[in-house]
């Protein structure tokens, strides 16, 4: 039997549950039968735009129903989808389009002005689907890009349509994430790895057609694969949480109540907001049966408080870098006191093997810390066009030639076989759940000719006030203000990687070898801030 493809999962659910709602957004929804037909239409249109099997197609969309149409339409056309963060600066989007040789983007009318304004920065772009200008006279080269509106696409033939010859090890999607050298790196997933993730997820959480899954993450964030890839395999409903709700915890919990979420999956930051400002005393969220969180450590005290609000729900810590989707699971026991030091990342989930090794790739003893290596069918194929990284990020075990991904995370295993997380080997951090390479932030500002040295670091980690700060040592001649440096970085990094605060120092604390002592610097900044608070 042939291995399943991600879009055949959708078509199978459309056959079995045509009237079930696949995706909901605000007051609108798409049933499985509708989503299946609309993706036929988009796939056909993409092929008319010369998209061929193996090509990459960009998705430049805010949270909306169209994101689901785009994902599955692109897959049916035999291409790989590349989600683009709508808050990314033009230069970063240009880098992604160019590196993936993207000629076609799926978008929406709200993005038309941006597309018109930025088209000249995207030389490879030939087709923009989902929006269409009335007047192209502003374009210097009006013929280069062709626009096709959604109404045109949705008025076309909707009979089954799919590219021929798609294989399960073909690329399905590429997710771009922070890269330490300053250019984003693309994580390549295939139909095989995406489907394995979807299948194990549906089994692990027993997702059934009656489940209603709250999708908190935007499409370019790997946590969204549960809502976009796993839920459609089960024939259940994904509720895309609109952007404004994610900013307003009281509105978000109202939505969760009205939509009767049965499964919640987000980074801890979103749950901390729900706990502190989501007016949980006034909300009936008894429909929730799973609270899944991942991407960051979560304080046991706050989990305990949430568990007291939702005693019927099973809380679980999910661990796994985007390169392997998910790989471990820890079911938080009802007996959690809240005074524990931390929550374990648990044991591997199905079909997965973990190794914790020292620098010689030798497995470490119980309770010893080493690098966590993961072998799993949900693992990526590699980084897009980065043979330098691909030669380093995998380990092949000599005894059985099994391939493991080097997570770069430090972990230990205790005597009851639970694994614990001990931070990173490098300078990758999470800012409110988003992956940020501190080296990339520093590299971005160091291109500014008035900046002599820079250090980026996290303050108040793991709290509601977690933030990214950048300390600068400037050229003596500089009289620029914080705003102009922030603007400079904002043109080069995605919004979540732009520092929340920029401070100017006369000198940095140094290590004995003269390097910036970042640990000392962070301590000093914490003390300074406390002084500020007292004075303020």
């Amino acid at each position: 039997m042939l291995n399943p493809l991600l879009h055949t999962n959708l078509s199978a659910s459309a056959d079995r549950y045509p009237e079930n709602v696949a995706f909901r957004f605000a007051e609108t929804e798409l049933k499985y039968s509708e989503l299946d037909r609309r993706t036929n239409q988009l796939a056909r249109q993409l092929q008319q735009c010369n998209v061929e099997k193996g090509d990459r197609v960009g998705i430049y969309l805010d949270r909306s129903l169209e994101t689901a149409v785009a994902v599955y339409g692109i897959l049916k056309a035999g291409a790989a989808y590349v989600p683009i963060d709508p808050l990314s600066p033009v230069s970063r989007i240009g880098t992604i389009l160019e590196s993936c040789d993207i000629s076609c983007i799926v978008s929406a009318p709200s993005k038309l002005a941006f597309m018109m304004r930025s088209a000249e920065s995207f030389p490879s772009l030939k087709y923009v689907l989902g929006c269409s200008p009335v007047d192209k006279s502003d374009f210097t080269d009006p013929e280069r890009i062709q626009f096709i509106s959604w109404s045109e696409i949705f008025n076309s033939d909707d009979s089954p349509h799919c590219a021929t010859g798609i294989k399960s090890d073909d690329l399905a999607y590429i997710m771009f994430t922070s890269g330490s050298t300053g250019s984003p790196k693309g994580i390549m997933h295939t139909h095989d790895s995406g489907h394995a993730y979807a299948r194990i997820t549906v089994d692990t959480y027993s997702i059934s057609p009656s489940d209603r899954v709250g999708n908190h993450a935007p499409l370019h964030f790997d946590i969204s694969t549960l809502g976009y890839l796993a839920v459609p395999l089960a024939g259940a409903t994904t509720i895309i949480i609109p952007e404004p709700h994610t900013r307003m915890p009281a509105s978000m919990t109202k939505l969760a109540q009205d939509e009767k979420f049965t499964i919640w999956y987000s980074v801890p930051f979103a749950l901390i907001q729900v706990l502190t400002r989501g007016v949980l005393d006034e909300r009936d969220l008894s429909s929730l049966r799973w609270i899944l969180y991942g991407g960051d450590p979560f304080s046991p005290r706050q989990i305990r408080e949430l568990m007291d609000y939702w005693p019927q729900a099973q809380f679980a810590n999910l661990y796994g870098p985007a390169e392997v989707n998910q790989c471990t699971l820890y079911l938080v026991p009802d007996s959690l006191k809240g005074t524990e030091e931390s929550i374990p990342i648990g044991d591997v989930w199905a079909e997965t093997e973990a190794l914790i090794v020292d620098t010689n790739n030798t497995p470490v003893e119980i309770d010893e810390v080493g690098e966590l290596l993961i072998h799993t069918p949900t693992m990526m194929k590699g980084y897009w066009n980065r043979s330098d990284l691909n030669s380093r990020c995998f380990y092949q075990r000599p005894s059985d030639t099994k391939i493991f991904f080097r997570t770069g995370d430090l972990a230990s295993r205790d005597h009851v076989n639970l694994m614990h997380y001990h931070g990173r080997m490098d300078r990758l951090v999470k800012v409110r759940g988003n992956r940020v390479e501190l080296d990339e932030v520093e590299a971005a500002i160091l291109t500014h000719n008035e900046v002599e040295e820079a250090a980026a670091y996290i303050l108040d980690s793991g709290t509601e006030h977690e933030r990214l700060e950048l300390a600068l040592l400037l050229d003596a001649k500089s009289d620029d203000k914080e705003e102009s440096f922030r603007h400079y970085v904002g043109e080069r990094l995605p919004k979540y990687a732009v520092p929340d605060q920029i401070v100017f120092l006369d000198q940095f604390p140094r290590t004995t070898s003269g390097k910036i002592d970042r640990r000392k610097l962070t301590e000093l900044r914490v003390q300074n801030l406390q002084i500020d608070k007292v004075q303020g």
């Binding site: 805010d62 709508p86 808050l87 709200s110 952007e243 404004p244 709700h245 994610t246 900013r247 307003m248 915890p249 009281a250 509105s251 109202k254 930051f269 907001q273 502190t276 400002r277 989501g278 007016v279 006034e282 409110r432 509601e464 933030r467 705003e483 922030r486 603007h487 904002g490 919004k495 929340d500």
Partner: protein, 79 residues
Amino acid sequence: MKQKLVTFIQSELLNDQQSITAEEDLLISGLIDSIGVMRLVGFIEKNLETTIPPKDVTLENFGNVNTIVSYLDSEIATI
């Protein structure tokens, strides 16, 4: 108050990179993020020497500057 809010949002939350109107939706397309919402609420509380309960920080009340002002007019007596 309306002008104060517009000025605060432009200078403190948008770093003077963008100007807004009182009708403009503050929450679409990531104009203001979750931290920004918290700072905005803090600014109002400090200025009016009042407390805004979390249950009132909703899309309906905080969608744009006009809705914030009418919420404050009707709910916060000190304005």
